[in-house]
């Protein structure tokens, strides 16, 4: 009969609907699965780098990380000591951080506290445009403009510092090469590239500080600078530290621009004025042309090192930024 068949279909549909809560269970499973997928990607990156570098870790051992600049990286003899590249990464990032931090915090203070309302948006955008320019374009500009016009003169200017005692002196052992390619060049170009990262986060940290802090400082008779220096910056310190660490992470992993201006030569010197490699630039230049399987594995171990360093830095930075967010009352933000 007509009536029962309609009823039957309804019950079948109803049962399906009820068992899946009108499709909500498949939906939440799908959405949850995609969330898990993102997790899996991160784990897979770590797992892949770990297993692919197994040979290198077994055969080379801790000799890989021995901190000596007089190291050998010889694919023909299968000897791999990575310290010069690790040193290159660390020293260029250090230069970039030392230069970029005061500049970025200055800019962040200006954008958050002092900038006239009308200029705020365009200035914010322009600073963030610096982060949008592709890294290869930085590199190209670096080779043909930045190196000869900026780096080479600075290098010549810094060369007399080589008479400084001990380690400080060795940092400036010159002379810088004619075209200016050097670790210094990489450090300087990284400075420009990480300014937007540090600035943007520090600015947000400053903006998140409740106005009561500012009012209290001004009410006690401090000047604006004293308010910024003695109240706002200490209040947001851990957030700003987080910003600095994220900037450092970006500097450590930057590849193309650094490769293009660093000269890529292996000299047994720690001097800023000499050419060198970073971990990333070595990967960019040698990975495709790996000679032996162990050569490939050793470079993957280098990638693993890079991954581990940036992972730890990210953890640290997130923790610091999170601390600020937790301390700031919800209604004072916005």
């Amino acid at each position: 009969m007509k009536n029962t068949s309609v009823l039957k279909r309804n019950t079948w549909r109803e049962r399906l609907n009820r068992s899946t809560r009108h499709g909500d269970i498949p939906w939440s499973l799908l959405v949850g699965a995609m969330a898990i997928l993102v997790l899996v990607v991160v784990l897979a990156i770590a797992w892949m780098l770990w297993t692919e570098s197994a040979d290198a870790r077994a055969k080379i051992g801790w000799d890989f990380f021995r901190p000596t600049l007089d190291a050998t990286w010889n694919p023909a003899k299968d000897i791999y000591q990575a310290w010069p590249f690790i040193y290159g990464t660390l020293i260029t990032s250090l230069v970039a951080i030392i230069l970029a931090v005061p500049i970025s915090i200055g800019i962040a203070v200006f954008l958050a506290e002092l900038c006239p309302e009308r200029l705020r948006l365009p200035l914010n955008w322009m600073i963030e445009m610096l982060a949008a320019i592709p890294s290869v374009v930085y590199g190209l500009w670096g080779i043909f403009v930045f190196l000869p016009v900026v780096v080479a003169p600075i290098g010549k200017f810094l060369a007399p510092l080589s008479s400084l005692p001990s380690f400080a002196g060795t940092l400036f052992t010159g002379p810088i090469s004619e075209d200016g390619t050097s670790r210094l060049a990489a450090g300087l170009i990284l400075t420009i590239m990480i300014i937007p990262t540090i600035t943007a986060i520090s600015r947000d940290v400053l903006l998140a500080i409740p106005d009561t802090q500012r009012e209290a400082a001004m009410g006690l008779g401090s000047t604006r600078w004293e308010m910024i220096w003695q109240v706002l910056l200490p209040y947001g310190l851990s957030g700003i530290l987080g910003a600095i660490i994220l900037g450092l992470g970006r500097a450590l992993g930057e590849t193309m621009a650094v490769t293009m201006v660093m000269g890529n030569a292996n000299e047994a010197t720690g001097s800023l004025l000499k050419a060198g490699y970073t971990m990333a630039s070595l990967l960019a230049l040698q990975f495709k042309e790996a000679v032996t399987p162990l050569h490939t594995d050793a470079m993957i171990e280098l990638g693993l090192t890079l991954f581990a360093i940036t992972l730890i830095l990210n953890l640290l930075a997130r923790f610091l930024v999170w601390q600020v967010a937790r301390r700031t009352p919800q209604e004072a933000r916005a």
């Binding site: 959405v31 995609m34 993102v38 990607v41 200055g106 322009m126 963030e128 610096l130 374009v137 590199g139």
Partner: protein, 314 residues
């Protein structure tokens, strides 16, 4: 006035002046630093236009590379390659990214939600060259050859965190009343999400995609040992031979993504490293095209997001 009071008054005045001067100097210094940071921006943009503009002509966009030593020729192969890579990356990154963002927006405080946000942060921080290594191990080694497929996958992982973050942010901006209205009318959660919340946030989400695409198209490092680069890449020829051999559209697409492929930043990098003047000139042209493309998307997307935020926050 006692001598002591005089001293206080005098020092107080000096102290006040000192504070005023420090205040003025430091505040103007911050403004100066801001100006200083803009110098490289305009220097780079200006110089790239100055060197790149003379190279751009119709041939530059419509012709393939000529052998070294011959003048002329274009970078059509790189433009096609960039488009293929961008499409692939979007296909791989957008569906999981958007769905994961739905999860993140609804469940920020469940264990999986916290883990998701954490892994998004980690992904955003992984150096792009390490992504290249990962895909090299995951795709290139088992397949035994470099391919556009591998390059697209590498870029998609790079895009994933941007897509998740902006989508999540935009979904959260949708007013609660809207979803409550839909749920109150009896629509199930998934229907509310897909046909009410998602359309309301759609234009913001699309700008997020645009930003992610802009960043991904500028990337070189993850492509070095996945897409590899291929100056002889020519979609037109592949399609033509496919039609002549009566191949299905899937076979043709398979052939397009199954071979090494070039992209604008990759071409820029190989050309800039070659000791031939014409190649270097062309690399400036590529730099200009790339920069205009990326900056234009960035500006449009930001204006769009800004307008949207203003509209939603009233």
């Amino acid at each position: 006035m006692t001598r002591f009071q005089q001293l206080i008054a005098k020092n107080g005045a000096r102290h006040r002046r000192h504070r005023r001067i420090v205040n003025g100097v430091m505040l103007s210094l911050t403004g100066l630093l801001t100006l200083m940071a803009l110098v490289p921006l305009f220097w780079i943009i200006g110089y790239v236009i100055y060197r790149g503009a003379p190279v751009l002509n119709l041939n530059f966009f419509t012709q393939l590379a000529r052998p070294i030593g011959m003048r002329g020729g274009g970078v059509l192969f790189a433009i096609e390659g960039t488009a293929v890579l961008a499409i692939l990356a979007c296909l791989f990154a957008i569906p999981p990214g958007v769905l994961a963002a739905f999860y993140a927006a609804r469940n920020p405080n469940t264990p999986l939600g916290i883990a998701l946000r954490f892994s998004t942060d980690v992904l955003a921080g992984v150096p792009s060259i390490v992504m290249g290594l990962f895909i090299y191990g995951l795709v290139v080694v088992p397949m035994k050859h470099f391919s556009g497929f591998a390059g697209g996958l590498a870029l998609s992982i790079l895009m994933l965190p941007t897509i998740i973050r902006t989508t999540e942010e935009m979904l959260k901006l949708v007013p609660h009343t809207l979803r409550e209205g839909s749920l109150g009318l009896g629509a199930p959660e998934w229907k509310t999400n897909l046909s009410v919340v998602f359309p309301a946030a759609l234009d913001g989400i699309i700008t997020g995609f645009l930003l992610a695409i802009a960043r991904a198209t500028g990337e070189t490092a993850p492509l070095l040992f996945t897409a590899l680069g291929n100056e002889r890449f020519d979609i037109g020829a592949i399609i033509q031979s496919g039609i002549q051999a009566h191949q299905s559209i899937f076979a043709v697409i398979g052939r397009i993504i199954n071979q090494p492929i070039d992209s604008l930043p990759l071409t820029l990098w190989t050309y800039a490293m070659q000791p031939y003047q014409e190649r270097i000139d062309q690399s400036w042209g590529v730099a200009l095209v790339l920069m205009i493309f990326v900056l234009l998307i960035e500006i449009v997307a930001r204006m769009w997001i800004e307008a949207r935020k203003r509209a939603l926050q009233g």
